[in-house]
């Protein structure tokens, strides 16, 4: 444990570095996947191709990708940007199918009714379709958060600093506490970001906590729903 107390600064620094690698990758993969998922949902013929291509990304071994990317980006092997790009590609592979499913899950009746009362196509996307796809998108995002935070550690092998550096360093120098610290810190970071995502979901999608399922108000357990059922015909 001595190692930990004397290296708290290092661990804190690596947590920040780790965040700087994984958070942009998480956001980028989400932002890129949503339109791809929407296209796969909207144009059935594109679905197979898009989803297979994205899933295929995941089949590329991570080390190979880290090493091959500089050839395309022209950046140095140890540039954190390379790692962010690689993590983004993996993130896309993880979330894009969920994104397509998220849009599939939006009730067609609701979309039709939005059109019928006068939503424009873009207004309907931002005001109705995207928010209603939100809960499923969030579940995909949570998977990406955890997988990206974990995968970012691999960068340490090619010399990009992250919490993974604690694994490589601890392994080379035979310091077990350092390795365990790296594992615990990585997991804690993943859980923290996951919790933040859930929290953001609650704030942005308050209706998901409204309790009752559509059309089954009377069977719901929440007291507001019961009151509502009693108020019928008032």
């Amino acid at each position: 444990m001595n190692w930990l107390w004397s290296n708290l600064d290092l661990v804190g620094e690596l947590i920040i570095v780790h965040l700087a690698l994984s958070v942009p990758a998480i956001i980028l993969s989400f932002v890129v996947s949503v339109p791809i998922g929407w296209l796969a949902h909207r144009y059935r013929w594109s679905r197979g191709v898009l989803l297979s291509l994205c899933a295929l990304l995941y089949a590329i071994p991570s080390l190979a990708l880290f090493i091959a990317l500089p050839a395309f980006t022209g950046l140095s092997l140890r540039s954190p940007v390379n790692l962010v790009i690689a993590l983004t590609l993996y993130g896309i592979a993880v979330i894009v199918r969920t994104a397509a499913d998220a849009f599939d899950a939006v009730e067609r009746d609701v979309l039709q009714s939005a059109t019928a009362v006068g939503y424009s196509a873009t207004g309907r996307f931002w005001g109705v379709e995207l928010p209603l796809a939100g809960p499923v998108l969030l579940s995909g995002l949570r998977v990406v958060i955890v997988s990206t935070v974990s995968l970012a550690t691999v960068g340490a092998v090619i010399g990009v600093q992250s919490l993974g550096s604690l694994f490589t360093d601890g392994f080379q120098r035979g310091i077990q506490v350092e390795i365990v610290t790296g594992i615990v810190a990585t997991i804690a970071l993943a859980l923290l970001l996951d919790w933040l995502a859930v929290l953001a979901g609650r704030v942005l999608m308050p209706w998901t906590r409204a309790g009752a399922t559509r059309g089954r108000a009377s069977r719901a357990s929440g007291s507001p729903a019961r009151l509502a059922a009693q108020g019928e015909g008032s």
Partner: protein, 270 residues
């Protein structure tokens, strides 16, 4: 006034939903399209706000061909109520009612204040304003749907089987409510149903549709009962089976009207 002139709808796969329909829908009255599924009644309704564009013929509102009007603008000026309410599940009741005014640029405060009044109009307690649609019963959701349809005070209110998914007791209540509202507001209501009793109850004009999107008869309920245009209509309204036949019987010196099955339907007063 809404007018269909030689309107046909053939889908790309060759299905004909509506065939050469001519009909005039008078203003400030309720016109009910009634028919079984596949009779094209919903397609006709959706042509009025351009959810469906005809493949032949014209739909005119007050003399203007709707094909020449931007569909989004057109729809924002026409009330629309559908089955299962069609409310936006992620928005509170009040926001649902205020949806269309806000799409048209009304300030939120103003739109919300008006939405609360509309809840009164459709007989809902204002305390429901902050609920989400999933927290309401089916009948309440449908009332909110009607309030939303009325929000921009449109001349035309389209109702696509609005009471199809609620239980019979609530449906009867909603039907009475609609009659009351229509008595006060006098909108041009176009209503679609497969229930002939609902059509006769609500309709000033009832349009009976048959398979393949053809109109069998368009007239007042009384005329249809008195002179069914053909065997299909007679069968559809139940006249041929004596379903609509009523008799008088004397009970304790009063004249009781009974239906074909002998169930009392009412008392005859002179």
């Amino acid at each position: 006034m809404i007018e269909f002139r030689g309107v046909t709808k053939q889908f790309p796969d060759g299905t004909v939903a509506v065939r050469d329909v001519d009909i005039v829908i008078p203003p400030h009255k309720t016109t009910v399209f009634v028919g079984s599924s596949g009779s094209g009644k919903t397609t006709l309704l959706r042509m009025i706000n351009r959810m469906v564009d005809p493949s032949g013929g014209q739909v005119l509102i007050d003399g203007t061909d709707v094909a020449t009007v931007d569909p989004v603008r057109l729809r924002r000026g026409i009330g629309y109520v559908m089955q299962n309410s069609g409310l936006l599940p992620h928005r509170k009741v009040i926001d649902n009612v205020a949806t269309v005014p806000m799409l048209r640029g009304t300030k939120k405060r103003e739109a919300h204040a008006h939405a609360l009044e509309l809840l009164d109009t459709v007989g809902l307690d204002r305390s429901l304003a902050d609920r989400y649609p999933s927290q309401l019963s089916g009948g309440q959701q449908q009332r909110v749907g009607v309030a939303r349809g009325l929000a921009v005070d449109p001349n035309i209110l389209l109702m696509d089987e609005p009471f199809g998914a609620v239980d019979p007791i609530v449906r009867a209540e909603l039907q009475q409510e609609l009659l009351r509202l229509q008595g006060e507001l006098g909108k041009t209501v176009v209503f679609v149903t497969h229930d002939i009793d609902e059509a006769f109850l609500l309709g000033d004009q009832v349009v009976i549709m048959q398979q393949g999107g053809k109109i069998s008869q368009a007239a007042s309920p009384a005329e249809i009962l008195a002179h069914p245009a053909d065997a299909f209509v007679a069968d559809f309204v139940g006249a041929d089976r004596g379903k609509r036949a009523l008799h008088l019987t004397e009970v304790d010196g009063r004249s009781i009207v009974v239906d074909a099955d002998g169930r009392p339907a009412g008392v005859l007063t002179s």
